[in-house]
Subunit: 494 residues, 2 copies
């Protein structure tokens, strides 16, 4: 394995002189790695935007078949990295091997999924014939087609080092649309990013695509991200990460003369509603499923079930949650920053009035997070905005509701969410149509009797939601529709 | 005719005490009308947003048939206003009777067009079945549907008092999508706006829709517009008007916690390219067509042909332009503000270096604009940003190009445009594929051998374009796709 620590621009690994460097963190060992990565200068960011525009002019003229070949070549090259990729990412993220193998397969399949769609689905073109004899005026012939928007900036996420990072869904969908891509790699896994960029470069060369169609910017300084979104050549931004970072990038975008779309997939508390009959019938199973979903990736999923609405008096459910959570092994979080935020948030919440402890586990190391399920009342939840915010990590809040009226009222108080689930027997779900209707206007994906973790890459997926869960409720960052973010209509007349 | 001068909120004509008033201008007489219209207070704006949200909760549950019935009832009620509507609008806009009759028919047809689409086109729903046995994980059943985004604010345009105003395309498409609407009427035609709101109120009552589904805000003060877009209940904005007003509204939207989409359809110079062979064959006809298109509505169309790229040495074309334009009768512009801007812009441009006069007409009144066609070189055009900006009114700029290479280079310098036309014989259009490809990335609608004025309301229309011609290149404000601006995806899982 040869890691240069540099940024990839126009097919060349580049670094400016006298720049600062940064290192990856090894969560399992709670220390920094040795390999140095070099902060991309503003000059390099500018260069990446310039070549992305030049490459776009060529890449936009490629056929669906040529783009599909590129996407399939990328998938092949990721697999060709072999176990070395998994080893490097395990070290950089602390995520277990099996999870990373699964995520790699999902990422490879996602690239092939977009490739197959390019080959099998004709481009969206609608035609209307002229009506030269129409009165009072003739009707012209018109054809509505789609063309790519231009270079796209993509920000890698820390929590999905493959599926939402350098060659993840944003990059795959932008390339499928015909856009060139500049990725700002996440500094939590820079060696993973460089390996992925190596794979990408091989795929570009093997399919004869312009070198500037992809660049990787390595940086840990926020100003590099801001410089990237402010380049006039950049026409759209794909982002998966925190609300605060997205809001900061949004402010930089607002300073542009041209306001470009920021597709920010942020996070949410993903409310889980359990209706009374199912709780009565199946509380024990629900408790196990809830804890398992919460503990996936130590709660570092944007669809982690963060708020549970349960009928008052569900004591057996809560007892089971306590038992199952106590048995869950702790593991490190992705970065020291995430750990510090988690510890601060859980500390702050546990000290609030009206909060009680339901369940916790025992950290195996002092730098592991303590998984926690706390409980509060509907009134406290609504009156305390901090309780409505996502706590990134293995944390959930239980709210006991008195009756369906209180539940409907509570749902109305929620801000926008990526997902919500309703758990109930069919008859009680049907009987509470108002609840379902209300909840659908709060979410991007409404789930019945399943947990929210796990986002299927398919035609009919929607991964997005009303603000603040995403910055653009009209779009999805997962599934075939993700490509639509990087296309725009054009009418050809006559 | 009973004009109250008030705003319509929740089915009631309302005015706060001690507010200022404004009057419409009568362009043909160059004086203000007598009828007083009352500035809506911030309180009324807030009230309109509140009732729009309440009404949305009911309106969003209506069926396609119910929404179609509302749209058809609106069309009926507009026609029921009869000649009185035309008379009032003629007075407020100075636009001729035939033009307004045509625009009324277009507006009525546009409402019926969206109604028919609701009845005839099934909602966009895609379903994928579950695969419970899939390895390594089962695939859930998912369904992708669309739901309305919420209350929409619409800004009426001065230049299309029906088709892009109170009950124009933005309102029709938002209502079709299932959104409630708050219209800020344009102060240039407030009586027209009130008549349209009267028609709307009758339609709402006859179809049993919630009263808050539509409000009309009457105001001339900019702060009222800013207050409207800042209401948290408002989830999208439809706007047709000037770049400067759109940019100001955009800044107010940026101050919101939630950045909502501004669909601003602004304007552009709509470059008209004439290729050499066609110029040689048909220069005289082109000259007549160009002047006629330019003089439509005295150039007050966002698709007015403002820049003409012609082969060097097209003297007969230019001579014919001079002759035809001199024969064109002058007419007043829509407002004193538009006249002042027009006079200032044409004065500034005519005093620049490298500008020469091609053609003009003779104003019949001192308050009429003088139609003008000026000429400049490619070099001057590119170096002088003011020449690339739209001059709203009967003004066009001719640029003579030396050869196709210079033409391609010139096209690359253009900013985003709503439209462009290429006029040429088939063989020369085919031979200049690079020009066509390049131009398509600069425009929302690329036209061959037709003038840009006239926007067909149909399935395959696109009326929008890259910045700065619109604020959202992904959207159209005309045609069935306009509805998509006010819908968003939702996935139902399992």
């Amino acid at each position: 394995m040869n890691i240069t620590g540099k940024s990839l621009i126009n097919g060349v690994w580049q670094v400016d002189e006298d720049v600062q460097s940064f290192q990856a963190f090894i969560p399992a060992q709670n220390k920094y790695a040795d390999t140095l990565f070099y902060e991309a200068s503003e000059q390099l960011v500018k260069a990446s935007a310039f070549v992305a525009k030049q490459a776009f002019k060529k890449y936009r003229t490629t056929s669906e078949q040529q783009r599909a070949a590129l996407l399939n070549a990328i998938a092949d090259q990721i697999l060709a990295l072999g176990d070395m990729l998994i080893d490097v990412t395990m070290q950089e993220t602390g995520l277990p091997e099996q999870r990373l193998q699964g995520e790699r397969m999902r990422t490879v399949n996602q690239l092939r999924f977009f490739a197959n769609d390019l080959i099998n689905t004709p481009p969206q073109v609608k035609v209307e014939a002229a009506q030269p004899d129409r009165q009072p005026l003739p009707k012209p012939a018109t054809k509505l087609a789609q063309i790519p928007v231009g270079p796209v900036a993509v920000f890698g996420a820390s929590n999905f080092p493959y599926a939402f990072s350098v060659l993840g869904g944003d990059t795959a969908s932008a390339l499928a649309a015909g856009c060139s891509v500049i990725v700002k790699g996440h500094p939590a896994h820079p060696a993973t990013s460089e390996l992925m960029a190596q794979a990408m470069l091989k795929a570009i060369k093997s399919t004869g695509m312009p070198l500037g169609v992809f660049s990787l910017i390595q940086a840990s300084h926020p100003q590099t991200s801001h410089a990237l979104v402010q380049q006039s050549e950049v026409k759209a931004v794909g982002f998966t990460g925190s609300f605060n970072v997205a809001q900061a990038l949004q402010q930089s975008i607002f300073k542009r003369a041209e306001a470009i779309p920021l597709y920010g997939e942020l996070g949410s508390v993903n409310p889980q509603v359990i209706l009374p009959r199912l709780m009565e019938n199946d509380g024990q199973t629900l408790a196990t499923n809830f804890v398992n979903s919460l503990m996936m990736g130590q709660g570092q999923f944007c669809t982690s079930p963060g708020v549970w609405l349960i009928p008052k008096g569900s004591d057996q459910f809560l007892a089971k949650v306590e038992q199952v959570l106590a048995e869950q092994a702790s593991a490190p979080l992705l970065t020291p920053g995430i750990l510090a935020s988690y510890q601060k948030a859980t500390q702050t919440i546990s000290e609030l009035n009206g909060i009680s402890l339901v369940a916790k586990n025992a950290p195996l190391e002092p730098f592991h997070p303590q998984a926690q399920v706390l409980a509060t009342t509907a009134k406290h939840f609504v009156e305390e905005p901090i309780l409505q915010e996502e706590v990134f990590g293995p944390f959930a809040l239980v709210i006991e509701y008195h009756d369906i009226d209180e539940l409907v009222w509570l749902v109305e108080q929620f801000s926008g969410q990526l997902t919500a689930s309703i758990h109930g027997v069919v008859s009680e779900i049907d009987a509470n149509h108002e609840l379902t209707e209300q909840l659908s206007y709060k979410v991007g994906r409404l789930i019945f009797n399943q947990m929210p973790t796990g986002v299927e890459v398919c035609e009919t997926m929607n991964h997005g939601g009303p603000f603040p869960s995403s910055t653009d409720v009209r779009s999805t960052s997962v599934g075939i529709q993700a490509k639509q973010r990087f296309l725009r209509p054009i009418c050809y007349q006559s």
